[in-house]
């Protein structure tokens, strides 16, 4: 039961953060280039995502051995998670500006206003393509998160439901606010999600390394699935330690050699 709640909470939070970023892009395109093109791009991305999920999910589960699947999906999760963790560490250490959806929105709006007019199929092509790319890119990450968390907890429908709920909450909030969701504590959420993605990514990718052993079975972590907690604690402790050490390294690098 608690595993299911953990799955729901993890998937919901990770998806929520991705959808907040997608919303910022769609809002900027809707306001500057027209809602028809922005919503058409969003709809087309949703259809493409559904097709991609069906094809990729079927292909992955049907044709790939379990260990290769763990290695492939684990590697992707590790890359996503460590990107987020890197940014979170640099932000907490004061070496990178905090993520600001208002600023991202202003940047998107400026780019959209500067872009020329190109009409295709009765749509503003710039607004359509940028909305499509934004939703598809963020959505693809959600798909991998859903597949990984869902397969790991043997409950893909629950993970999918959590992602759909996150999309609905973000869409509703965007509809009500009609502006970027700047008050969402995105930096804290990204740090937490980065830890979770890095944890599952490490656990799965390392298990998948068994594909290089004779027999090709998954590598065993000591303690089985309980090792996930140890890996989580490890990433948590390392990220906090790095927040302390990174500014010291930055100062030493900045000091002129004597």
């Amino acid at each position: 039961m608690s595993a299911t709640w953990g799955l729901l909470a993890g998937t919901f939070t990770a998806s929520f953060v991705e959808f907040v970023e997608a919303l910022t892009i769609v809002l900027a395109m809707g306001v500057t280039r027209g809602w028809r093109s922005a919503l058409a791009g969003t709809g087309a991305a949703a259809v493409a995502l559904a097709a991609f999920t069906a094809v990729a999910g079927y292909a992955l589960v049907t044709w790939l051995p379990r260990t290769a699947l763990q290695l492939g999906i684990g590697t992707l999760l590790l890359v996503f998670g460590l990107q987020w963790l890197r940014k979170a560490v640099l932000r907490a250490a004061g070496l990178k500006a905090l993520n600001d959806e208002e600023a991202a929105y202003a940047e998107q709006v400026a780019e959209a206003r500067a872009a020329g007019t190109d009409e295709r199929f009765g749509l503003d092509w710039f607004g359509f393509v940028v909305s499509f790319k934004g939703v598809f890119l963020e959505g693809t990450e959600v798909v991998f998160i859903v597949i990984t968390f869902g397969l790991n907890a043997h409950d893909v429908p629950a993970a999918s439901g959590a992602a759909v709920a996150a999309a609905a909450v973000v869409a509703a909030a965007g509809l009500v606010a009609h502006r970027p969701l700047a008050r969402v504590p995105e930096n804290t959420l990204k740090w937490a999600v980065g830890i979770v993605l890095a944890t599952y990514g490490t656990f799965w990718a390392v298990e998948g390394l068994g594909v290089f052993q004779p027999g090709g079975g998954s590598l065993d972590w000591p303690g089985g699935d309980w090792a996930i907690l140890a890996v989580l604690a490890g990433w948590l402790a390392l990220s906090r330690l790095l927040v302390l050490l990174v500014p010291i390294l930055a100062r030493r690098t900045a000091e002129p050699a004597t």
């Binding site: 890197r86 640099l90 390392v206 930055a250």
Partner: protein, 67 residues
């Protein structure tokens, strides 16, 4: 095709290539360890996990030094 390539790079590499490179390098080393270790070696998974963490720290250190 170029747009698809750009999308894949955006998606797989993100805005810092060092993270993707450190993950690939760490798992490459892990693959070598897995290939040479005895089947069922209990130390292999924790050591591979530590290699991933060490590669992340190394990539971040390079990043900070270049700033």
């Amino acid at each position: 095709m170029r747009a698809v390539g750009r999308f894949l790079v955006d998606f797989l590499v993100g805005d810092d290539w060092k993270v993707a490179a450190s993950v690939v390098a760490a798992l490459g080393l892990g693959a070598v360890l897995a290939a040479v270790a005895a089947s069922g070696a209990r130390w292999l998974a924790p050591v591979a996990g530590l290699v991933v963490a060490a590669a992340f720290v190394a990539g971040l250190a390079v990043d900070v030094r270049r700033r």
